[in-house]
């Protein structure tokens, strides 16, 4: 009927032995990274009172033996990786769509930052889940994951403002927040002192991280909701106008663009020499990052909606003479189905059969 329930677009995460993914709506599962058997699922359904997470939009963050994630229902959870038991939870009393950001000390998360649909930004103690006494009010929804760098937290809001805050005190650092014409909804990315953030105004903005001044902006035909990828001075920005744009980080000039069949919300990923993008209809493309030319196998068809960010995973492969490392791309699709691009060069795609724990090759018609 058009009225859609939230389904979630959390991307998968990985540890040495586990693959963490939302394999069903409102559930987080831990799969054995070797045989992909399911080790645990949260919530279990046995909780009292019943726990309904509705959906999960935040890609899980792993620190030590704990996994953190936020649920659309408003809670941030810390679970024990071993058995999925709940360590703590913090209820924001609002919906969580934005991804989590974390402050790492000695490779362990010390503080978690979470933004809510009402525009509150909380800092949570990773050990206890207790919120810091101060919180920040962005004035409107936060749909993009905050970005932490050098003690500064960059927060994009749907009111079109990009804030630079002291991560400790939440005091603004810039004189005025950067203000775009309309809502900023893509996860901000920092590269060479430039913050890249896009939004509903159909523009990708390059903002000076030090001053908050706009360096350049690039117009597209629709919203920028996917997180841009920056590699070697080139910005790869997906847009919901069906295109992936390659722009010069320095000037914002368009180097090339590639037109997919549908809008792109997922972030592009780079594997070896192939740029992999997935459009919202589940068409997977391999592109030459220099020219934007599609590899001959493109597209592979997942035939399910894909809005999550893919994950690149290095996997040791025994070759004839020696062990080699191959990069595989995990793609989480609508309904929690998990796909794997086995070889971005050849485009071999497989789907995880949850019953057998095996990846079954997907044949594109």
């Amino acid at each position: 009927m058009g009225f859609s329930n939230p389904e979630g677009w959390a991307g998968p995460a990985v540890t040495d032995s586990l693959l963490l993914a939302s394999t069903d709506q409102g559930e987080l599962s831990a799969l054995n990274a070797e045989d992909f058997s399911r080790l645990w699922t949260f919530p279990t359904g046995q909780e009292d009172p019943e726990l309904d997470l509705e959906a999960i939009y935040t890609t899980p963050l792993v620190s030590g033996d704990i996994v953190y994630f936020g649920a659309y229902s408003g809670e941030v959870f810390a679970l024990n990786l071993e058995d999925g038991s709940e360590k703590w939870r913090f209820d924001t009393d609002d919906n969580i769509i934005a991804g989590l950001e974390a402050l790492y000390i000695d490779e362990l998360i010390e503080t978690l930052f979470v933004g809510t649909d009402e525009g509150s930004l909380y800092a949570l103690d990773a050990e206890t889940g207790q919120p810091r006494s101060n919180f920040f009010d962005a004035g409107d929804s936060i749909w993009a994951a905050p970005l932490l760098s050098d003690g500064l937290l960059y927060v994009a809001s749907v009111n079109g403002k990009l804030f630079a805050l002291d991560a400790e005190t939440f005091n603004p650092v810039w004189e005025e927040p950067f203000e775009a014409g309309q809502g900023l909804i893509s996860d901000p990315v920092l590269a060479d002192g430039t913050i890249l953030v896009g939004g509903i105004d159909r523009e990708l903005h390059a903002v000076d991280a030090a001053s908050g001044e706009e360096l350049w902006s690039f117009d597209a035909g629709n919203w920028f909701w996917g997180r841009p990828l920056v590699v070697d001075g080139t910005v790869y920005a997906p847009s919901l106008d069906d295109r992936l744009y390659a722009l010069s980080l320095e000037t914002g000039d368009e180097l090339w663009s590639f037109e997919a069949e549908e809008g792109i919300r997922s972030s592009p990923v780079l594997t070896d020499d192939t740029l992999v993008i997935v459009d919202r209809d589940g068409n997977v493309y391999g592109l030459d990052p220099m020219t934007g030319a599609a590899l001959p196998w493109s597209p592979r068809v997942i035939d399910k909606t894909v809005l999550s960010n893919p994950l690149v995973l290095e996997e040791a492969v025994q070759e004839e003479v020696a062990e080699d490392v191959k990069e595989k791309v995990f793609i989480s699709a609508e309904g929690g189905d998990l796909f794997r691009l086995e070889d971005p060069t050849s485009g071999e795609l497989s789907r995880l059969d949850p019953n057998t724990g095996r990846f079954v090759r997907v044949v594109t018609p």
Partner: protein
């Protein structure tokens, strides 16, 4: 009985409304064939409605709830020719009901009964599809708007991604995103857990349904209508409980408008009694009356018709009066023969 003559004035009746309706239907069907159902549906109905909603939201200061109400009223004004036509057709059908009942009673042979019925339609200038076609167009609009509203109010981040594909490349429209979904006690993107809105939907639907039913020709029809009168509100309550409140706001506004339109058309002939459950099956009465004085009954019906016509001279076209006067003559002739 030279009943073929009255058909001429009916044919000569200005058919602007018909032409408009037929053009719309042919245009839509043609577009569905040429563009394909999905593209035509989105391009011709959904996307214009969605963008109009966003535009209105911006124009009323970002108040999406007010935009829905305003949009509904505007839409109902635009489609008012269809609404009036539907109501007038319904009234015309009501007016010929006594004679319909008579035909039902007189002719047992279905073929003959159908012929007589068609003849009656011709004589009275009533098009049986006159009620159906405007209603079909309105239902199409309702369904499109329903879908448009559901898309706009969404209820999930996924729906916003879908919405982005439907918004025209005019930056002003983007100002409406994200929509302010609070309106009165409602969250327009969620169903109303207070049950106030579903109740309003139920009551308004009941009133509208009661005002639009025609008197039943048979006991079976009466029973069906009674069921419809209660079922429609209940179904709408159930639908409202499972849809975003924005759709409920649309429905209440739309039905209230329809009720006012009904008052405008029916005028004095309506009273609060119309809202009460229908009286005993009308089909039973003609069975008794003809046994006593069939002609007296017919005359009484003719009188009632004349009265109604006089009251609504502005609504009923001159042709209707002409037809009725011919009826009068015919009765006169028949009496003479007897």
């Amino acid at each position: 009985m030279s009943q073929s003559a009255p058909a001429a004035p009916a044919a000569a009746r200005p058919k602007l409304g018909n032409l408009l309706m037929i053009s719309i239907i042919v245009g839509l069907v043609g577009a569905f064939f040429v563009l394909g159902p999905g593209v035509a549906w989105n391009t011709l109905l959904m996307n214009p409605l969605i963008n109009a909603l966003l535009l209105l939201t911006n124009l009323v200061g970002g108040q999406f709830g007010i935009a829905i109400i305003l949009f509904t009223v505007l839409l109902r004004f635009v489609t008012i020719p269809f609404t009036l036509r539907q109501l007038q057709s319904t009234r015309a059908m009501q007016e010929i009901q006594p004679r319909m009942q008579e035909i039902q009673k007189k002719h047992k042979d279905p073929k003959r009964r159908q012929e007589e019925t068609m003849k009656l339609y011709r004589e009275s200038g009533v098009n049986p599809l006159g009620c159906f076609m405007p209603m079909a167009i309105q239902m199409l609009m309702f369904f499109a708007l329903w879908r448009a509203l559901a898309t706009v109010v969404g209820g999930s981040p996924e729906s916003l991604v879908s919405l982005s594909q439907r918004i025209y490349a005019w930056s002003f429209l983007g100002d409406a995103i994200p929509l302010e979904q609070s309106f009165l006690w409602l969250n327009l993107g969620e169903s109303d857990s207070t049950f106030i809105l579903p109740l309003m939907v139920g009551v308004s639907t009941y009133v509208q349904t009661r005002l639009s039913v025609t008197p039943a020709a048979t006991a079976q029809q009466h029973q069906q209508q009674q069921m419809m009168t209660w079922m429609m509100p209940l179904v709408m309550i159930w639908i409202t409980l499972s849809l975003p409140s924005g759709v409920g706001v649309y429905w209440v506004t739309s039905t209230v408008f329809q009720v006012f339109a009904s008052f405008a058309v029916y005028g004095k002939s309506m009273s609060w009694r119309t809202l009460l459950p229908m009286p005993a099956p009308a089909a039973t009465e003609p069975k008794k009356r003809p046994k006593l004085q069939p002609d007296v009954q017919e005359e009484a019906e003719a009188d009632t018709e004349t009265e109604t016509t006089t009251e609504t001279t502005t609504e009923a076209p001159p042709r209707a009066r002409e037809v009725r006067s011919r009826h009068g003559k015919r009765r006169g002739k028949r009496k003479k023969r007897r």
